[in-house]
């Protein structure tokens, strides 16, 4: 159980709001498609803030017209990884951007163990910090 005001990992665009319904997710996907973004589904069992590369659930969906395509992929990912973190990411390949334009979490484990802060005393009063993901104390695939 995390102690921040939401009680959960607050990455992504909408973590402070009530869980998005599938209809609400579809509306966001539609917004991205209208902007010309490519959506992708990614999942992980280690939501460490510096863990950039979540696993890709298939390729980014370029040239898609209908949000239903993204929602199908999302349902498949949820079915395969019901207790993992899953996020939807929209990619904008415009010159000068070429990066993520939207990102939000659409699936979480029932209980989120969060992170510990390890302080290593160094020279003088200097500290070196390590943010430790409790989930990774267990091996892959046995974390939630």
């Amino acid at each position: 159980m995390m102690t921040n005001p939401t009680g959960r990992v607050t990455q992504g665009q909408f973590s402070f709001l009530p869980e998005l319904t599938d209809a609400e997710i579809t509306a966001q996907v539609d917004y991205g498609l209208n902007k010309g973004y490519a959506w992708s589904v990614e999942y992980t069992d280690d939501p460490h803030p510096r863990n950039t590369f979540w696993e890709m659930f298939g390729m980014p969906m370029f040239d898609l017209q209908d949000p239903a395509g993204v929602m199908l992929e999302l349902q498949a990912c949820r079915k395969t990884f019901p207790s993992h973190y899953i996020r939807l990411m929209a990619f904008d390949n415009t010159r000068g951007i070429e990066s993520i334009a939207m990102s939000f979490i659409v699936n979480r484990p029932a209980s989120e163990p969060g992170f510990g802060l390890v302080r290593q005393e160094s020279n003088g009063r200097t500290l070196r910090y390590t943010v430790h993901s409790y989930a990774t104390d267990a091996p892959e695939a046995r974390r939630y």
Partner: protein, 490 residues
């Protein structure tokens, strides 16, 4: 509208007459040429000139061109040792400022050979050097500059840029949220760190040192950095997000600044901060350091109001923003429109566009006079700070867009239920507004309803709206566009 060349008003082409000892009019010396067509490689400045009574506008424009390039008050024969025509800036157009009798816009072109590669100090020593104190002018203002592609390419620009900043922070698709730690003076390092921790854990992405927090008797810099970084890391572990706090490294000397920046790096900070008052050379130096050490560089525009605010004299902030993008900062305070500090909506949007565009188009209502190709230079994240609160979220999003840091200082720390509650209110208001906008709602008109609905399941937001919902700062702006009526905020 451009004035044609008149007899006696143009360059003397007879070399013997031109270089006889004595005093000539500037336009006779070659600083005015109505037929000049600027080259793609020229730097072009647009000045607003207010000549003294009896000084005609063409002579005044030629004088500005002369005094910001090669001229001195009298003819010198040593000009003949140079290809002097290259070094003379050329005023080529003057136009009356709409609705302001006695004021003129003057366009002046400078050959690229006049400027050292990659040096803001050199560029500014020319174009705002001696000329601003020139007696024949009552007042002079640098309104805008066109920087040629070739010259832009000699600058490294922002060390991180707003795209890579978002990737490092793992935050996309919404403005970033920040707050300035308050009170700005008097907190000890320990108390200061408390405010940082509460704000970040509550949901903000950044906390920030204020411009005059350096290393005073009540809180020395090392103490501040140590406590702040404990707060940052603790908040990061509590939320699973990357967090930061702008550690102000502004100091008396570059050596002190490097020492402070090194310590910030050693403690794992993602960002450091400088004040504009350190000067252009110091900014470029610390920008190099930031590039070398993967550090985001935040610039507070402390002091700019002394020369940017009045319309008749000084340097427009859009020019400062252009210089800072070249010099290489990642964040720059660029106004809030709705907050407590000066900022006409369209003019402020002009500053934002200069920071964030790949190619800025001429846009007179926003005070942008030139097309500007940014030559793939990275983009600066504008920062909106000063007197803003959650109840204005729809307006802020509409005016400023997604790529901005919204800084709610008082609007976080002044929350009746505490700092975390203030942070929650801001984050919930922001996420609710982004979601509504993406769903296609008319979020500007429905903004208050969207906020009230979000507040039904978020008591801290309800309390924030009850406390500040009606607060606004509606004063007439002093720095406004000359080309359209300024819309009011009401």
């Amino acid at each position: 509208m451009n004035k044609p060349n008149e007899p006696g008003a143009t360059e003397i082409t007879d070399k013997k007459k031109r270089y006889s000892a004595g005093v000539l009019k500037y336009r006779q010396m070659g600083y005015w040429n109505a037929d000049y067509v600027p080259k793609d490689t020229d730097v072009i400045c647009l000045f607003r000139i207010t000549p003294q009574d009896g000084v005609d506008e063409i002579e005044a424009a030629a004088a500005v061109a002369g005094e910001s390039s090669t001229a001195t008050w009298t003819v010198v024969w040593t000009d003949r040792l140079t290809a002097s025509d290259s070094y003379r800036a050329k005023a080529y157009k003057v136009e009356a400022v709409p609705g302001n009798p006695g004021q003129w816009f003057a366009w002046i072109a400078y050959d690229i050979i006049l400027f050292e590669e990659g040096s803001i100090a050199n560029l500014t020593a020319s174009v705002i050097g001696n000329v601003f104190g020139f007696k024949p002018l009552k007042a002079l203002r640098l309104e805008d500059m066109r920087l040629p592609f070739a010259y832009v390419k000699t600058f490294k620009g922002p060390p991180t840029g707003l795209i890579v900043e978002r990737e490092r922070l793992d935050k996309f698709g919404r403005p970033l949220l920040g707050a300035t730690t308050k009170p700005k003076l008097g907190l000890s390092g320990r108390n200061y760190g408390r405010v940082v921790y509460e704000g970040l854990k509550g949901g903000l992405d950044f906390m920030k040192d204020d411009e005059n927090i350096n290393s005073q008797p009540f809180m020395r810099w090392r103490d501040r950095y140590l406590y702040v970084m404990d707060a940052v890391n603790k908040a990061s572990a509590a939320t699973g997000e990357v967090k930061g706090s702008y550690l102000n490294v502004t100091a008396a000397t570059m050596e002190d600044m490097y020492e402070r920046a090194e310590f910030a790096k050693e403690l794992g900070s993602v960002i450091i901060m400088i004040d504009l008052v350190i000067g252009y050379t110091a900014i470029q130096s610390i920008s190099n350091w930031a590039r070398k050490h993967d550090m985001i560089l935040h610039l507070h525009r402390a002091g700019h109001g002394t020369y940017t605010r009045q319309k008749t004299h000084g340097v427009s902030f859009r020019v400062i923003a252009k210089w800072m993008r070249l010099a290489g900062v990642d964040h720059i305070h660029a106004g809030t429109i709705v907050g407590k500090l000066e900022g006409d909506p369209l003019t402020t949007q002009g500053y934002y566009n200069v920071c964030r565009d790949s190619f800025t188009r001429q846009d007179l209502p926003r005070g942008v006079y030139f097309d500007q190709d940014w030559a793939d230079l990275r983009k600066v994240m504008p920062v909106a700070s000063g007197g803003i609160h959650a109840g204005q979220m729809h307006q802020l999003l509409d005016y400023l867009g997604d790529d901005v840091v919204l800084q709610f200082g008082g609007g976080t720390i002044g929350h009746p239920m505490g700092i975390q509650s203030g942070a929650i209110a801001n984050r919930v208001a922001l996420e609710a507004m982004i979601m509504a906008r993406n769903e296609g709602r008319d979020y500007l008109a429905e903004g208050p309803d969207i906020l009230r609905k979000a507040a039904q399941s978020c008591t801290p937001l309800k309390q924030a709206l009850d406390t500040w919902g009606e607060i606004s700062f509606n004063y007439a702006s002093t720095d406004t566009s000359d080309y359209v009526a300024t819309p009011s905020l009401a």
